[in-house]
């Protein structure tokens, strides 16, 4: 099955002969194709390849699953060939890796490394980057290994930094490391500013301290000298610890923009400048009492705001904990069978169609299908389902889940960035980066915010200078600085994105993928939810529900005979009966003379009994009286089930009924939804009677029955026309138009297929409780966003006027710039901390 050893070899020689032709410059590449299951696959791929400009020939061998492609490298890149293959729905067996490179410093180095890599056979694409000092390559693992890649890099004159490739470092580390570095720098600056603040604060107010007042009275030389020294001491605080405010202001000014840095930078430099004048040229002040210094303002403001920034970075790091957890789930190695032997290889080298071995306690490395063995797998990290799931031959396994009990082998179906886990990580990141509509208001405000605060500060200065009490210059300066410092644009800016990041991450932890901020905000407001019956409320496959026997017959025996007979049938209802019998631990045997009577039923001979199983017409045809079973038949049919007659040796023995059964937590979920004030509507293509029966069972009042698949979207629209905000829950395939029409489309995921295009929310675990959790998360998150916004807006609208001194004429209240700095620093930390509270959200569990 796994042909990895057979792949390739022809290509290099092929390329050599082909390139020797002078006119048509050609190269040949062999690519392993995954996902080829049907007869027309090779043709489809060949057609797609032929359409790529520069491809002169393509042949796909369905047996080896290798595509051999001749192309002109001057007209096309391998990347576009890969894209063409992926576009028609197949996977190509390439892997990606990030290789850290040493001593790569200039942009010409980047080009040399890239060229060296691109020339290496087996490397499909290579991109080097100075930032992380690494090359991202896509390669064919069966053609080239890390040794050769390293050789290629060394041949260009560079070195590979670490021999080991760590997949976890790939996605989050660069920014993570930058954040850590930033945090450490900020904390160093904080301690520096804080330590200097203490003597500066004490000596700036000598009049408050008994001994000092006498030693350095106002206007004395001693005081001037001490104050000058304090100014020297405070200078590094301003230019080093506060440097990010000035660089931040400058960078923004170049773009005609202003931000928090602008406000702080103006504030602290105004305080510093006033103090310099007070010490250096006290004569310019009409009164000696005006020659005050504000070194302490500079030092304490820098210390507090820098501390706030550092705490904010820490808290913001926690908001993306969910995604870090997901990334951490990725397995590092896989045990695959290569050349008939079990080999441990890095997970990036696993190819589609590889056979992977998983032992108890190990992680499933990639997505696939079990081909041998059985086990229970803990899938809670992906689906949110806490119970381990039994897996046997033919079942799908998801990469990143934990194998519990048994050993098994599976065939890889999705690897690299195609796995469910990689898709989930990508979707969550995208969603966390999206904006909720509520954010637009904030965006408009924050565009005007900082310049407006600057204007207010200037106005306050003018007002206090003209009408304020003496000493006017001190009052107006302090007011000006306080107004600039108390304003906190950060709190406004952080309010929505941090909550969204935590909320969407929380969803992912519970097996709910919310696609965007829009979807999250819309989910909160739903007042009506349409549930598709089959596959959403119910399991979507029939199961044995009832066995009713006529007196004198044994229930087990009737079922055993019926199931034994149905073993020969391929009808889905028959399968349900066989499964049901097996679940009751009945031993089935083969039937003799099995006959399927189309449209009627089946017959055969088992254990020397003639058994007949089918509908009423079959019984009538064979002259078997079924009047006795009639009431039971009607009762079962009214319950939405499909009852069928069993006759043994020419007389009616009873009824066996099958039905699409309701998922275990559907009823509880629907009850909770109703409790949340949401109208629940059931939509089904089945007849009214079956629909009503299920609706009764789960407690739904409104049923839209006999809806053709194409009309589902229309039904959603009709409900929307009633003025309702409508959510639609269904599978991603048949219900796609209805999901797209709904205000929020919830797609019930199936196994590893998580990227359902039409949906706004994907429920990885196929349970309706997911809808409840999704709505509860959206409500909790939006509540959190509102708290943050009210807090941030409230803080600024109250804080700024108070800082401007509007309360002074009434109650004599003025804010110290030191208090303003503390308030400002902690307002943004508070916003992020409040968002982090969402991490404690617990989804409801059924039965609790």
């Amino acid at each position: 099955m796994n042909n990895s050893g057979v792949v390739n070899t022809g290509s290099e020689s092929g390329a050599a002969t082909a390139t020797s032709e002078p006119l048509a410059k050609r190269q040949r590449i062999d690519l392993r194709i995954g996902g080829m299951t049907c007869a027309h696959c090779p043709t489809a791929i060949e057609k797609a390849l032929a359409a790529v400009d520069g491809v002169s020939g393509a042949h796909v061998n369905p047996a080896t699953k290798i595509a051999r492609i001749d192309y002109d490298p001057s007209r096309t890149k391998i990347a576009s060939i890969l894209q063409a293959i992926r576009a028609v729905g197949y996977t190509v067996g390439t892997a990606t890796a990030r290789i850290p490179i040493k001593n790569m410093h200039c942009s010409s180095c980047v080009i040399r490394v890239e060229l060296a890599l691109q020339m290496t056979p087996g490397i499909v694409s290579a991109r080097a980057n100075l930032g992380p000092n690494a090359a991202d390559i896509e390669y064919q693992p069966e053609k080239v290994d890390f040794q050769e890649i390293r050789k290629a890099i060394e041949s260009a004159g560079y070195r590979v930094a670490e021999p080991k490739i760590d997949p976890q470092s790939e996605t989050l580390d660069p920014s993570e490391a930058a954040n850590d570095e930033e945090y450490r720098t900020l904390m160093r600056k904080f301690w520096f500013a804080a330590v200097i603040s203490i003597p500066v604060m004490a000596l700036s107010y000598p009049d408050l301290i008994l001994g000092l007042r006498d030693w350095m009275p106002m206007g004395s030389d001693a005081r001037r000298t001490v104050w000058a020294l304090l100014g020297v001491l405070s200078l590094p605080v301003l230019v080093w610890a506060g440097s990010q405010f000035f660089t931040g202001m400058w960078d923004a000014l170049k773009h005609r923009a202003a931000n928090m840095h602008t406000l702080i930078a103006i504030g602290i430099s105004a305080a510093y400048a006033y103090s310099v004048v007070a010490v250096a040229a006290p004569g310019v002040f009409p009164n000696m009492a005006l020659a005050e210094v504000f070194w302490d303002v500079t030092d304490v403001v820098v210390a507090l705001v820098v501390l706030g920034l550092a705490l904010e970075i820490k808290a913001k790091g926690r908001t993306s904990q969910a995604i870090k957890k997901l990334i951490g789930l990725q397995a590092k190695t896989a045990r695959v069978i290569r050349d008939g032997k079990e080999t441990d290889i890095p997970v990036e080298e696993v190819l589609v169609e590889d056979v992977v071995v998983v032992r108890p306690g190990e992680k499933v490395p990639v997505d696939g299908k079990v081909i041998a063995g059985a086990s229970a797998i803990d899938e809670s990290m992906i689906t949110g389902e806490s119970m381990p799931v039994e897996k046997q031959m033919g079942d799908e396994v998801i990469g990143g889940t934990l194998n519990k009990t048994g050993s098994f082998r599976f065939i890889a179906t999705k690897v690299g960035k195609d796995t469910a886990l990689a898709t989930i990580i990508r979707m969550v990141k995208d969603a966390q980066g999206s904006k909720a509509p509520i954010q637009r208001v904030v965006d408009t405000v924050s565009g005007y915010f900082v310049p407006a605060v600057m204007i207010l500060a200037v106005l306050a200065f003018i007002a206090w200078y003209n009408f304020g009490p003496e000493p006017r210059s001190i009052f107006s300066t302090v007011i000006f600085v306080t107004t600039l410092i108390i304003a906190c644009p950060c709190a406004l800016g952080l309010a929505t994105p941090t909550s969204l990041t935590v909320g969407i991450g929380k969803g992912a932890e519970n097996g709910i993928l919310i696609r965007s901020g829009d979807a999250l905000q819309a989910s909160e407001k739903l007042d009506s939810i349409i549930l598709d019956k089959t596959g959403t409320i119910t399991r979507g496959e029939p199961a044995l529900t009832d066995v009713v026997v006529t007196p004198g017959h044994d229930e087990q025996e009737v079922l055993r005979l019926t199931a034994s007979l149905e073993r020969g049938s391929e009808h889905p209802l028959g399968e349900a009966i066989v499964k049901g019998a097996e679940a009751r631990k009945l031993t089935l045997i083969d039937a003799e003379g099995f006959t399927a009577i189309p449209g009627l039923g089946v017959s055969g001979r088992i254990d020397s009994h003639d058994v007949l199983f089918g509908n009423a017409k079959l019984m009538r045809d064979r002259g078997i009286a079924v009047q006795l079973q009639q009431t039971d038949w009607e009762r079962l049919a009214n319950e939405g089930k499909t009852p069928m007659y069993v006759a043994i040796d020419g007389s009616a023995a009873g009824l066996v009924a099958v039905a699409d059964t309701v998922k275990p937590d559907s009823k509880a979920a629907i009850a909770i939804l109703k409790g949340l004030g949401i109208e629940v509507v059931m939509l089904t293509g089945d007849n009214e009677r079956t629909g009503r029966a299920i609706a009764r069972e789960v407690g739904i009042d409104r049923v839209l029955a006999e809806v053709l698949p194409n009309d589902k979207a229309h039904e959603v629209q009709k409900l929307q026309l009633e003025g309702k905000s409508v959510g639609m829950v269904g599978d991603g395939v048949n219900d796609a138009p209805a999901l797209a029409q709904a205000d929020v489309g919830f797609a019930i995921g199936t196994g590893t297929d998580v990227a359902i295009e039409a949906s706004d929310v994907t429920l990885i675990k196929g349970s309706l409780m997911g809808v409840v959790t999704a709505i509860e998360i959206s409500r909790a998150t939006m509540r959190n966003v509102r708290q943050n916004l009210v807090g941030a807006f409230g803080y600024n609208t109250l804080g700024i006027p108070v800082a401007m001194g509007v309360l002074y004429p009434f109650i004599g209240l003025l804010l110290s710039p030191l208090i303003a700095a503390a308030a400002m620093a902690f307002s943004s930390v508070t916003v992020v901390t409040n968002a982090n509270r969402l991490r404690f959200f617990q989804p409801r569990r059924t039965g609790s």
Binding site: N129, L130, G131, P132, P174, S175, A178, N179, E181, E182, Q244, T247, G248, W250, D251, A252, K254, H255, R256, A257, A258, N259, M260, E312, I313, K316, K429, D430, G433, S434, K435, Q439, R440, V442, D443, S446, G447, Y448, V450, P451, M454, I455, V458, L459, F461, I462, Y465, N466, S476, P489, C490, L492, G493, L494, P497, S516, D518
Partner: protein, 125 residues
């Protein structure tokens, strides 16, 4: 009013007028994206204290590729969001990150960092 009051008031009002003009009234002219042989309209954008250039002019109906290069570590700018296109991209420091868009209709579309401190405009003609 004393002369010092006159001076403070006049200077203050002038300052306010300057702030209004500097931050709100003057707008950048915009940078027209270059068209590549592949049919893409490309532009390189530097992320440092803002987006440079911050106004990109493109034509509608053709794919746009904006190559962001972030040269700072401030945590706000680590992401760029195109809210109208439902697209976002992480911008690790020092790395070029391409954002591809297909503007179908003419109009003005903003892009910004998650906190909205950095702003840019995509003008589609």
């Amino acid at each position: 009013m004393t002369p010092d009051r006159w001076i403070v008031t006049a200077t203050g009002l002038a300052l306010i007028a300057f702030i209004v003009w500097f931050f709100w009234l003057k707008r950048s002219t915009g940078f027209r994206a270059t068209e590549t042989s592949g049919g893409y309209q490309e532009a390189m954008i530097l992320v440092k204290g803002g987006y440079t250039p911050d106004t990109i002019i493109v034509r509608s109906g053709r794919p746009v590729r904006l190559n962001f290069r972030r040269e700072e570590t401030a945590s706000c700018s680590d992401k760029v969001i195109f809210a109208d296109f439902q697209k976002s991209a992480e911008l690790p420091t020092g790395q070029v990150v391409a954002v591809e868009l297909l503007p179908k209709e003419p109009g003005e579309f903003g892009f910004a960092c998650p906190m909205g401190m950095f702003r840019g405009r995509l003008i589609v003609e």
